[in-house]
């Protein structure tokens, strides 16, 4: 069953596009384009959820898809853009790892995720792609958090990880129970809001949202 839906051409194409958008985040040095790429990624994810909902006939998945669409591809990017605009942050991202090496590391992470998924042996031919993609999203999200200096990018990284988990959940079990899903959405939204407030505070304290500055807090 899983193979028919997740192996279907359209879902595979969407997942390929999700990977493209992830690499757009990795390969961009502009905050706006990162946020835009994240919005596109979430939109694609919502489409995946929609297709799965349609083909399994699980109505609660529609709600999840709609929530993804609204919260992740509209509200959260909007909050981001609002923050960027309000605190007049420099639009260039500062990096610990340069773009080209980051991209290559991203590629390596995808390969590693694939081998990981293959080794756990839950992969049938078709959903393996979705699982590998979700695993790579999680690892790339973590990598984004590690390698970018701006606090906003840390938020973005955690959201990419969340997207990856969501994709994984969909491809394994067609989504978690609605209640859990709703809880996660609420969490993410609140998380973003709190992080946003924190970023304002960081900005006020250090006149920058460079998380490197937090080092100065140690006693």
């Amino acid at each position: 069953m899983s193979e028919i839906i997740l192996g279907s051409k359209s879902v595979q194409l969407l997942i390929a596009l999700i990977l493209v958008s992830t690499f757009m985040i990795l390969g961009s040095t502009r905050l706006y384009s990162c946020v835009r790429a994240f919005g596109i990624q979430s939109f694609l994810l919502a489409c995946v959820a929609g297709i799965v909902a349609y083909s399994t006939g699980k109505n609660d998945l529609y709600i999840v898809a709609a929530l993804t669409l609204v919260i992740k591809s509209a509200v959260i990017p909007y909050i981001f853009i609002y923050i960027i605009r309000e605190i007049k942050v420099k639009r260039e991202i500062e990096l610990y790892v340069n773009i080209s090496p980051s991209l290559i590391i991203g590629g390596v992470l995808v390969v590693i995720s694939y081998y990981l998924i293959r080794s756990i042996n839950i992969m049938s031919e078709l959903s393996g792609f979705a699982l590998s993609a979700s695993m790579s999203l999680v690892s790339i999200g973590l990598f984004v958090m590690i390698s970018r200096k701006k606090a906003i990018m840390q938020m973005l990284g955690i959201l990419i990880m969340e997207n990856g988990l969501f994709l994984g959940a969909i491809s394994l079990t067609y989504g978690m129970p609605l209640l859990v899903e709703l809880g996660i959405f609420f969490d993410v939204l609140i998380g973003v809001l709190i992080m946003g407030i924190l970023i304002f505070r960081i900005n006020k304290t250090f006149e920058s949202i460079d998380t490197d500055m937090l080092k100065t807090l140690i006693g």
Partner: protein, 316 residues
Amino acid sequence: MIKQIAIVILQIFIIIALAPLLGGIIKKIKAFFQLRKGPGVFQPYYDIAKLLQKDSVVSQNVSWLFHAAPIISFAAVLTAGLLIPIFITEMPFGFAGDLIAVVYLFALARFFIALASLDAGSSFGGMGGSREMFVASLVEPALMLSIFAVALNVGSTNLSYISQTVSAMGLDALSPYQILAFAALFIIAIAETGRIPIDNPATHLELTMIHEAMILEYSGKQLAIVELGAMMKQLLVFSLLANIFFPWGIATGAGLAAIFIALLVYAVKIVILGATMAMVETSTAKWRLFRLPELLSVSLMLSFLAIVSFIIVKGG
């Protein structure tokens, strides 16, 4: 035999005759996005006709290479044109080379123009030549990986076979690896045709341009040949994109009706690609030269992902 000759002649005719039109259409679409009126779509023809009327002025420092380069590079591009399926998959000269040979023919064309750029002894020429070869080296690994991704899917780098197979697959041909390879090749196409954000085809500031700086010393008829060569290359790169990834509608036999439909479909595909390119050009700014490795490593990783996703999807 006559059919074959007719196909060859038609293909040459399309490449030479329609190449300027594509440039004109892209400019027009770009003007539309920028809320300008813009020059007419036939403007490139007028430009070339004007240049052909004019005398050349040649630097006193140059050698025979400067005069030979436009001829060789024009011929190399046109030869590549006979290996690329335009409207029919059964190309009479398809046996002469595959996708990799096309890449190297383009390299031959570029090599001679870049050599000529150094011949006049001007710094601008050298700058242009150096940057052109730099961008070409950036492109090459991604290009080769996307070729590999395409070849993996189809099982060959023979261009007519690729078009035929993908066309026969219909919508089934749309697969993650195709999409990733297409995204990679699209970025490469931007670089190969010298468009924003890699190079600005409309610039007239010597310090910022790549291709234009390289051919700065050419004038008159020679410039016409060089410009036409560049336009032909642009058309051919677009044709490659169109007929490798979306070859639907291409004629597989030499029937008149099929060829007619194929030509129409081809025109539509090229215009759509041109419009996409114009959209990209309008919405982005030209990148600094030393940020280009970043853009092209995106393309490299996408083509690598194409291969990886092929492996994942086909299971291992």
